[in-house]
Symmetry: C2
Subunit: 241 residues, 2 copies
């Protein structure tokens, strides 16, 4: 199986205004990495119909699976379903199964706000999972809520869609600067193109610089070879466990 | 002055892999909101030359100012300058002023890793600010470091580029559900189109639902009118101070 290419579309003016901290994309990124999916892009847009439509279409065309989060409640600023419908040129229709679920949950006749929750792009599928509430999908786009507690309850159930070979990681640290490491690192990377080597400097509270080196590969043997080469080229590195 | 449209391009495979928490975009979002700039989009891409080039070009064409962060160190995975050069069809050249700064800082002859820090797209400008280190800009793209401590030191100096009328905000909370609020909210929003009304449900640890309503406008008078209408339409709201 090839590695599924995944994108995330975060919908939320409250995030772009700095008002709310974005936590959903990071939660999804960690879970995606754990099952070996390749998260290729995250885009954050406002609650704007045209923007949602544009980036849904673009991300869906360029990735195997897209997860959206945010903008699916009953209020006027929740326009994700409209945006996805426009992205694919589909009408919004009342989905009979969602309607039945909401009626059963509410136990009475539905007002327009409840009906809005059941208006989804034509042809939408329901992913029931554990049955608490369904996730709506339209083609390769899976629509998640923006409330972190709800997203965190639901998202792990969807990981079966994107499971690949897990990415193996080994990490090293050194107190040298990136400047003194750069030539050796370039040589190790060039000799081990199948292993991705990331170099992340940081300045801890003490003020001293340190560099974290992260080696990633789906193949344990190639990863081990690259790590041996790294330790030989840069003796100051210590492996982090 | 019209409101400057701003975008952020975050460059970092370590963020897409869930390995590192993204904090730079949120830091910038809060500062941009405080000076009235309109952050319209955030895109997170890997340390990939083609992706950086594509989104630099797209964001620069559609916004007044673009801030990038990440990917400007001396190691092989730092390809932001190359990506920006490709976005604008410019060659990479050694920038004499950056070279002089690095020589003065290092106090000796430069090896290839140091020289790499001074290879920037042709025509790049330097924004010196407080003089600690310069920010490189190419057309309307400003290139910031990914290390949060360095970004946080430098970014506030750049806010003069994007200052607009500040956005005023008033916030309310209610323990009603979004479903019961939706109709009234839709009516208030329709009657006050110049004020943006956001509705953000949350489930606190207690498990009870509450909804935060955020009203935003650049005009104090219009904002006050919409708040009066909101309180009249939904008597259960309490203003947060």
């Amino acid at each position: 199986m090839s590695v599924p290419r995944v994108a995330i579309l975060v919908i939320g003016s409250e995030i772009l205004s700095g008002d709310t901290e974005e936590t959903n994309a990071r939660f999804m990124a960690r879970h995606l990495a754990a099952v070996g999916a390749s998260l290729r892009r995250v885009v954050i847009v406002p609650d704007d119909l045209a923007e949602i439509a544009r980036f849904t279409a673009e991300l869906a065309a360029e990735h195997d699976v897209v997860f959206t989060c945010g903008g699916i409640g009953p209020t006027h600023d929740d326009v994700t379903y409209e945006g996805i419908a426009r992205a694919f040129g589909l009408p919004l229709v009342l989905h009979p199964e969602i309607l039945t679920l909401i009626e059963a949950w509410k136990g009475g006749p539905l007002d327009p706000a409840h009906q809005r929750l059941a208006r989804v792009p034509e042809g939408a599928a329901l992913y029931r999972g554990d049955g608490q509430f369904p996730v709506v999908s339209v083609r390769n786009v899976y629509v998640l809520p923006g409330v972190p507690r709800l997203l965190q309850r639901k998202f792990p159930e969807l990981l079966c869609l994107v499971r690949g070979e897990p990415v193996l990681t080994r990490q090293f640290r050194t107190e040298e600067t990136e400047l003194s490491l750069a030539e050796a690192l370039t040589a190790v990377q060039a000799a081990h193109p199948e292993v991705e080597i990331g170099s992340y400097p940081s300045t801890p509270a003490s003020g001293a610089w340190s560099v974290r080196l992260v080696l990633r590969s789906r193949c344990a043997g190639l990863l081990d070879q690259a790590c041996l080469a790294l330790v030989a080229a840069i003796p100051s590195v210590r492996e982090l466990t």
